[in-house]
Symmetry: C2
Subunit: 213 residues, 2 copies
C-alpha cells in the first residue's frame, strides 16, 4: 500500500507518518520507483504500536525509537533484549541524592526487599530503573509526610508479584522472541493504564461499599 493508504487505515495523518519515518520510528517502505514506496501490514502494525507507545504510554519520540530498536535487535539473547527494552522505558525522576529523605527511602526499600526475598533486586537490581524509581517514589511520600511503612509496602509488593506472574504467563503464550519482547513492552506500557483504571474503579466500588452511595 502507499503512504496515503497507510494513513487512512491507521487514522494517522500522512505528515505525521512522514515525521515518524524521518525520526526512524517506522522503517522506510520498499522503494518501487524513485518517488514511490510500498508499505505492508507490518508497517501498519508497527505504526499502531508507535502511536500507542506515544499516546497511551506517553513515551517521548526519542525513547520510543530506542525501545523499538531493542525490539528489532536480533543480535541479542532474549533475556538481554528484554532487559534492554524494558530499561529504556521511561521511569519516574531519579532519586534526589541531596534530599535527606532519599537515604531513609533507600533503607526502607532495602528492608522491604530483604523481607520479601527479592534477591535479584538487591544484587544487580539497585541499578534497575524500577528500583531507583521506587526509591524516588518512597522519598517523595516521606517528604510529603504520607505513610509508607513496611507492612503496606510488603502487602502491595505481594499483590504486584501476583500481577507479574500473570504478565509473564501472558508473555509465554507467544512463540517467537520478538513477539515476546514486544509483549513485554506492551505489558509495561499499555497494560499499565488498564491496571490503574481497574484500581480506581475498585476504589470507587470499595468506597461505595463502605460509605454508601
Amino acid at each position: 500500500m502507499r503512504l496515503s493508504e497507510l494513513s487512512e487505515r491507521s487514522g494517522v495523518k500522512t505528515a505525521t507518518i512522514k515525521y515518524y519515518l524521518r525520526e526512524g520510528l517506522l522503517p522506510p517502505g520498499q522503494r518501487i520507483t524513485a518517488t514511490q514506496a510500498e508499505y505492508d501490514e507490518a508497517h501498519l502494525r508497527r505504526l499502531r504500536l508507535v502511536r500507542a507507545l506515544i499516546q497511551v504510554g506517553r513515551l517521548p519520540v526519542a525513547t520510543a525509537r530506542e525501545v523499538l530498536s531493542h525490539i528489532d535487535d536480533a543480535s541479542l539473547g532474549r533475556t538481554i533484549r528484554l532487559g534492554a527494552a524494558l530499561w529504556s522505558l521511561p521511569h519516574g525522576p531519579d532519586p534526589d541524592e541531596e534530599a535527606p529523605e532519599t537515604a531513609a527511602a533507600r533503607e526502607a526499600v532495602e528492608r522491604l526487599l530483604d523481607r520479601i526475598g527479592w534477591a535479584t533486586s538487591q544484587e544487580i537490581g539497585s541499578l534497575s530503573p524500577a528500583h531507583r524509581s521506587l526509591v524516588s517514589s518512597v522519598a517523595t511520600l516521606i517528604r510529603l509526610g504520607y505513610p509508607c511503612d513496611a507492612d503496606y509496602l510488603a502487602e502491595q509488593a505481594g499483590l504486584m508479584r501476583q500481577v507479574a506472574v500473570q504478565d509473564l504467563d501472558m508473555m509465554e503464550t507467544y512463540p517467537t522472541e520478538p513477539e515476546q519482547v514486544e509483549m513485554a513492552v506492551a505489558s509495561a506500557v499499555l497494560y499499565e493504564p488498564l491496571l490503574m483504571a481497574l484500581r480506581r474503579m475498585a476504589q470507587e466500588e470499595e468506597s461505595a461499599r463502605r460509605y454508601g452511595l
Copy 2:
C-alpha cells in the same frame, strides 16, 4: 518566611514559585508591607504537593489547580468532594467512538463488571473517567492484537480490588476531611508510580526466577 526562603527550603526557583502564585496553585502569602509577603509551613507543604503532582504525577498545571481547588473546597460533603477531586485527575484518552474495537471493548468491560459484581460501576459508573479509561485501554489492546480476555481481566481486577482495600484503609487513618481528600489524591497520583515500580521489579524478579540470571 519570605519568598526566597520558601524557595531555598523547597528547592524550587523563586521565578517558578511566582509562576505558581500567578497560576493560583499556591495561595498568596500574607502581605506584610506593600512590597513584601510572609509565607508559612502550610505554603511549603502545599508547594511540595504541587511539585509532586506536576513532576511525579505529570499533571498539567491547569489540572493541578482544579484538583487542589477541590481539596480546599470545604463547601462539599466528603463523598462529593472526594469524587470531584478524583474525577478531575487525568485519565487516558477517551474511547474513540469511531473505532469498531471500542464497541467490543465496552462489551468486554460490561461482562467483566457483571462477572465480578461491581454494581456501582455499571449504574453511575459508565460515566466515570476510570471506566472510560478502561474501555479505551481495552480497545487499544484489541486493535493491536494483544490478548485481553475475560479471565485475565477478572484476575487483575481482583488483585486491584485488594490494592484498593489497602488504599481505603490508609485513607481512614486520617481524621479530618481535607486530609482524607488529599490522601485520596495522593493515593491516585503519587502511589501509582510506586505500585508500577513494584510491578516492574516483580516482573524482573519473576523473570529471573523462570529463566535464570
